[in-house]
């Protein structure tokens, strides 16, 4: 049985209203058959301190990444992971997490590379659920294992690699890091590593739109009109643009990827997950410092 969509008026304005659910909706549908909630956090212990009742944990660092190569798990690895979590190919997967859903958006983006048919984000994430004093549980659910099919990852549509970014110079590109990271004026203490990159600055031509501008105070996404005012009126992006987004390792840019692709309906948005930790370390990669794109 298909899990219904959240018909909240705010979502109906977005290009793909079905990609979001509200905390109200989730509280009502927690026990729906065919629905699994997964928490994906920056802090690997946060789930253990209490999570949405019935939610499983999905960790980007230790589960969605290949343990050796800097890449995501392959089709067989993803199938194994989803099966162990009790997530089937026909499961409606609701993702949420800390830090304004950075890692949840990242997990959603990775699920998209595997073309999981129905994956949605909890608007406002963990912070909003807790702010509303909704139920939390420390019980770790044991969901029956599923038989998730092996689907090979398709990186062609939504993922950008370094050589593709190099060929994209001069085309629309958004650097979603903080202004200090963008200009290259990193705070640093002598002898201590910072940001994991040897060089500071940004990819030439990239405009700086910190991810947080798309988020409201309560960690929910801003309304469509507000998002259009930023990305279209101010930055000049158009829905048919070919856009690359990046940050440091691709988690904050997943948030902006979600905004541009799912909320504003841009057809071609790719997340460059190599991001600054690749570009800022690559020999001879062109870099611009300061505020000029």
């Amino acid at each position: 049985m298909a899990v219904p969509f959240d018909s909240a008026p705010k979502f109906q304005e977005y290009a793909r209203p079905q990609m979001l659910v509200s905390t109200d909706w989730l509280a009502e549908h927690l026990d729906d058959p065919g629905l699994v909630v997964a928490e994906s956090d920056e802090d690997v212990l946060l789930y253990e301190t209490g999570h949405i009742p019935g939610a499983v944990k999905l960790d980007w660092h230790t589960e969605l990444n290949d343990p050796v190569t800097r890449d995501y798990v392959d089709g067989a690895g993803f199938a194994r992971l989803m099966s162990e979590k009790g997530i089937g190919r026909d499961t409606t997967l609701i993702l949420y997490g800390d830090r304004n859903n950075w890692w949840a958006a990242y997990a959603l983006w990775v699920c998209t590379l595997f073309d999981h048919p129905d994956v949605r984000l909890l608007d406002g994430g963990r912070a909003k659920w807790i702010a509303e004093e909704r139920a939390l549980s420390t019980d770790v659910p044991q969901r029956p294992h599923t038989d998730y099919p092996v689907v090979e990852r398709d990186d062609s549509e939504f993922r950008a690699f370094r050589d593709q970014v190099a060929a994209h110079l001069g085309e629309p590109m958004i650097d979603v890091r903080s202004p200090g990271e963008y200009t290259g004026e990193l705070l640093h203490m002598p002898d201590y590593p910072q940001e994991g990159a040897l060089r500071g600055g940004h990819i030439p031509g990239a405009r700086n739109v910190p991810w947080a501008r798309a988020a409201a105070e309560d960690a929910t996404f801003r309304a469509r009109k507000e998002l259009e005012a930023i990305y279209q009126d101010e930055v000049g992006l158009r829905p048919d643009d070919d856009v690359v987004v990046y940050c440091r390792i691709g988690e904050r840019s997943s948030h902006t990827w979600f905004v541009l692709h799912h909320l504003l309906g841009y057809g071609k948005v790719r997340n460059y997950d190599g991001s600054w930790t690749e570009w800022g370390n690559a020999v001879r990669a062109p870099i611009r410092r300061g505020e000029t794109p």
């Binding site: 212990l45 201590y192 590593p193």
Partner: protein
């Protein structure tokens, strides 16, 4: 694998971690997070006295004191919403607070590899623990000189 010598308290912590199954190690880390003592008023009221540790993924601040008897006292501030970072601080507090400066300085920089957390927590997150230790040792050296 060769392991550098740890002081007895850190050694015990490392043994606690390695003696439990992997799935219980995160729970143990959570216990360290919960046991981290709150900041005393002299620091809570003067956050400017604390040193930030930007290598941690979540905000962490620390202060180090070396008293007249060459004994090291450690103070940490980490938000409740960042239990992993708090857990790292808790380990360092439990393992180093109240030791002689020489013992603190002798702590191997890579001691976190003996906790068996790399696969569970990820090397990137563990960098925060190494950074905290490096800053503590630097402050101890500065205050002694």
């Amino acid at each position: 694998m060769t392991t550098a010598a740890l002081n007895p308290r850190l050694q015990e912590i490392a043994e606690d971690f390695s003696s439990v199954p992997a799935k219980d190690r995160l729970q143990l880390l959570l216990e360290f997070a919960e046991e981290l003592p709150p900041l005393p008023a002299k620091y809570a009221d003067h956050p400017d006295l604390l040193e930030p540790v930007p290598e941690c993924q979540s905000p962490l601040f620390l202060a180090v004191e070396v008293d007249g008897g060459d004994v090291v006292h450690l103070f940490f501030q980490a938000p409740r919403e960042a239990p992993t970072t708090r857990g790292f601080a808790g380990i360092l507090h439990a393992g180093l607070d109240g030791l002689d400066a020489d013992e603190v300085l002798a702590t191997p920089g890579e001691f976190s590899s003996q906790l068996g957390l790399a696969d569970l927590v990820s090397p990137l997150r563990l960098r925060g623990l190494a950074a905290m230790l490096a800053r503590i040792k630097r402050q101890v050296r500065e205050q002694r000189s």
